[in-house]
């Protein structure tokens, strides 16, 4: 391979990206050296096994990826804003919509949710960490380096360009000869293994580490949603693992799984991809439902309406999520019977989802609603998501889908589901739990400005796409002629996209502003909320709970507050056993990064060496003897007194 093939060349924008990547990679080490933060970074973050810090790192990475994916989105909207635009060429546009999809789903939505669950779930169930803290760090670093691997494809070798669903035969070596789709198969594989481990970790954590007395049906709704999500992850991600492995074999080892001859079957890819891909949608939406349930109950000052039906509807959704994958390709010729079955299962999902919507509405009914920033997102979610849901039912009808398939109508639909569902959800959760982690609230005024920008601009961006789709504009077309008449609505959509950008910039500016000027929060319960995480001081000490709380009902903390009782038993503190920090997960992540990179370019010898190194890190782990450490009683007393202001 020649150097001009190794680096992506010939585009001013890519050169700009290269320059900025070089500048950032000089600036970060330079800054760390100048401020003497290398040791701090290594000790406090890179080697941490603390679920709260891992959660924070997930969320930082997700926000960075939100901007990376957001720039992709802006470029797409800019390219299509006017007819016959020459901002991007066809190939570049293909790469951008592909990476936009991959990054937003797998490297923004997923890690944002996993970040929030890392921070919140152990606190909500009264645990001191997750079941496998070390594995949790491995999960994070696998996700992180998987994401980095995909991101460097932009300047080295070329990005994947066959859509985020990478359908065969388009994604085969024959039709996508660059290494772009090798990046796809390897980066997603590495990150996906991390996600699978997270699913196992949280399932065991929630099943085994709840506070005494917290029966399953007394768990907070967010924890319930994560329990169900973990189960979906465990059943769905191995399918992705296989699909990606077969893709790699086909592209790099000459096998015939999805080939057009020698008995290969290209539809096999579409099936495998969506058997994972549809449950994936629920992996990102159910936790958001959990977040909304917490926020709506807290700010309506009422207990959640229909707790049991909330749980059952999530269980039903999780089952149905595995039975609807064919609706992604009704038009690819399965015959009437198959399409009808999947049409019915798809429409059936709207029933449990509708139950949840009504439960939230009934929770709000006659509540004393306070319109905080997280609550605004939750309230905006209900109507906007309903539009997304209703158009989903339209798409679910197989015969009608022949009209909508592959049009901008579909694009509008899934943005109407995923943005109010997942994105609003994680932003709401971010504002809601921020004071728990950092000890101060985000500024409400700035937060509300950001909210209104985001909520209004979202509709300006995506509503026109419904109409464009019905008018026949297909998705993924990089330009169109003026006579189609698509121009004005696309321009309107572009205006909305700019508004969304302003909203997200305000959101991040708010983090900066609040860090500097926002008053510290001392109660540990700034929202007067209901679940156990608010019984800890903010920011939460390393060991979470000085004494393990004892729970007897749902929202036990709320009732304890009202009745002036304590959730912990009388008695002195006891030493707390905590896991040790360790650098091995980080090193393992780096090794996976190099392994993936060498594999992408089919450099076998370096890949084998990197693979051996990965096995070496595992061997190190199995021979290592690490029994953790104890936090002493004096240290607990000191920390608790400092955080709770001298009271015991």
């Amino acid at each position: 391979m020649k150097w001009d093939e190794f680096f992506v060349t010939g585009e001013p924008m890519i050169y700009a990206a290269m320059v900025s990547i070089v500048l950032v990679s000089i600036a970060i080490p330079a800054g760390l050296t100048y401020f003497k933060k290398w040791g701090y970074l290594w000790r406090e973050w890179l080697t941490t096994v603390d679920h709260k810090k891992i959660g924070v790192m997930y969320i930082i990475a997700a926000l960075l990826m939100l901007f990376r994916g957001g720039v992709d989105a802006l470029l797409m909207r800019a390219q299509t804003a006017v007819p016959n635009n020459g901002l991007l060429d066809g190939q570049h546009y293909n790469e951008i919509f592909t990476t936009h999809g991959i990054i937003m789903i797998l490297f923004m939505a997923m890690p944002f949710i996993i970040g929030l669950m890392n921070v919140v779930v152990p606190l909500q169930i009264g645990a001191r960490d997750v079941a496998f803290p070390r594995l949790n760090a491995v999960s994070f670093w696998l996700f992180f380096f998987g994401a980095m691997l995909l991101n460097i494809s932009f300047v080295i070798g070329g990005s994947p360009d066959a859509g985020w669903s990478a359908y065969f035969p388009l994604a085969s070596l024959e039709f996508s000869p660059t290494v772009g789709n090798n990046y796809y198969s390897l980066a997603l594989q590495i990150a996906g293994i991390g996600t699978l481990m997270t699913g196992i970790n949280f399932l065991v954590t929630i099943l085994k580490m709840r506070a005494p007395g917290m029966k399953l049906m007394k768990m907070p709704m967010f924890t319930w949603s994560i329990l169900i999500t973990s189960v979906i992850i465990i059943f769905a991600f191995p399918v992705l693992t296989v699909a990606l492995a077969l893709m790699m074999l086909d592209r790099q080892f000459g096998t015939q799984f999805f080939a057009m001859q020698n008995g290969g079957m290209d539809m096999l890819w579409a099936n495998l991809f969506w058997v994972w891909g549809h449950p994936e949608v629920y992996i990102v939406i159910l936790p958001a439902f959990g977040i909304y349930s917490e926020i709506i109950a807290t700010f309506a000052r009422k207990n959640l309406y229909g707790y049991k039906s909330m749980v059952y509807s999530m269980v039903v959704i999780s089952l149905l999520s595995f039975l609807v994958w064919v609706h992604h390709f009704y038009t690819m010729g399965h015959g009437v019977m198959v399409n009808s079955v999947f049409s019915i299962t798809t429409m059936a999902i709207s029933v449990p989802t509708g139950v949840k919507i009504f439960n939230w509405l009934f929770t709000l009914r006659r509540g004393k609603i306070s319109f905080t920033t997280p609550m605004l997102y939750a309230l905006a979610f209900i109507p906007i998501f309903t539009i997304g849901g209703v158009t989903g039912v339209m798409l679910a009808m197989a015969s009608a889908d022949y009209q909508y398939h592959n049009t901008m109508f579909l694009v509008a639909h899934f943005h109407y589901v995923l943005i109010p569902g997942t994105v609003f959800g994680v932003i709401a959760g971010f504002h809601y739990w921020f004071p728990k982690v950092f000890g101060f609230k985000l500024n409400e005024r700035l937060g509300k400005w950001a909210f209104w920008f985001i909520a209004i601009s979202f509709n300006i961006t995506f509503f026109p796409l419904f109409i464009l789709g019905l008018n026949g504009m297909t998705r993924r077309m990089y330009t169109y002629s003026e006579s189609t008449g698509y121009g004005p609505l696309n321009m309107l959509s572009m205006v909305g996209a700019v508004g969304l950008t302003i909203g997200f910039i305000l959101l991040v500016y708010n983090i900066y502003w609040s860090t500097r000027y926002q008053p510290r929060e001392v109660t540990g319960d700034p929202w007067d909320a209901r679940s156990l995480e608010w019984s800890t001081p903010s920011p939460v000490p390393e060991y979470n709970f000085a004494k393990t709380p004892v729970v007897d009902k749902l929202d036990a903390f709320w009732f304890a507050k009202k009745e002036g009782k304590s959730l912990t038993e009388e008695g002195d503190y006891e030493p707390i056993h905590m896991p040790n920090n360790n650098g091995q997960p980080f090193i393992m992540g780096v090794a996976f990064f190099f392994f993936g990179f060498f594999m992408v370019f089919s450099w076998w010898l370096p890949a084998i060496i990197a693979g051996m190194f990965i096995l070496g890190t595992m061997a190190y782990r199995t021979f290592e003897q690490d029994h953790g450490h104890y936090v002493t009683v004096e240290e607990i007393e000191r920390t608790e007194n400092a955080l709770r202001g001298e009271k015991k």
Binding site: A131, F132, L196, G199, I200, N201, L203, V204, L207, K208, M209, I234, F235, F237, P238, V239, T241, V242, A243, A245, L246, L249, D250, F253, G254, T255, Q256, F257, A259, Q261, N262, G263, G264, M265, L268, L272, V275, H577, L615, A619, T622, F623, Q625, H627
Partner: protein, 198 residues
């Protein structure tokens, strides 16, 4: 670390119990992984293109040897765990050693079998059927290989540190993994080889 002496060593601490449950859940994910590979195989088993079909290349003798060797290894690791529960370190190590030795034998026969296929012109690139076959068998074989390394590492730890809650826990989890590979093999034997030879 609190040790509950009323329970077997591998379950005696809170951490150990979590690890065993976690591994069961992981095996659940492994079941999904192998089910997907089986589904791919069943979808493609008749798509032989211009290559040979299963009935042309499958031979009974090596497959029977592999099956007997692997099933016996599942039995011996069971005996190993039994010895561990009795606190007999030497017997436990012997049975684990036999298990790994049988695993190695299985792998040797499987590699020879692969060589034979390739020699007969049935490579992974020949047809979709063969791609699926090699991937399914290869994934199982890779699991066995990893098991040999892992089991070897555990054996060394037991030798050095004796039967502690930690080493017992690792050995027990390894035995779960090994039994699981055996179960997968039974499905491969029945639905790939037996069905293919008919």
């Amino acid at each position: 670390m609190k040790i509950d002496h009323s329970l077997p060593l591998e379950y005696s601490t809170e951490e150990n119990k979590l690890k065993i449950l976690g591994f069961w859940v992981f095996l659940g994910a492994e079941i999904v992984l192998f089910s997907t590979l089986f589904a791919v195989y069943f979808t493609l088993q008749n798509n032989i293109g211009n290559g040979p079909g299963g009935s042309h290349i499958f031979e009974l003798t090596p497959v029977m040897i592999e099956t007997i060797v692997l099933l016996s290894s599942s039995f011996t690791i069971g005996l190993g765990i039994h010895a561990m529960r009795l606190g007999n370190k030497k017997a436990m190590m012997t049975f684990f050693g036999i298990t790994l030795f049988l695993g190695l034998g299985f792998l040797g026969v499987e590699i020879m079998e692969f060589f034979t296929y390739v020699h007969e012109g049935a490579t992974m690139q020949t047809s979709a059927f063969l791609s699926a076959l090699f991937t399914l068998l290869g994934t199982h074989g890779a699991h066995v290989t990893f098991g040999l390394l892992w089991g070897g590492a555990i054996l060394l730890q037991v030798k050095k540190r004796g039967l502690t809650p930690e080493t017992a826990n690792k050995s027990f989890i390894f035995s779960l993994y090994w039994h699981f590979l055996d179960v997968v093999w039974i499905f491969i034997f029945s639905f790939v080889y037996m069905k293919g030879m008919m």
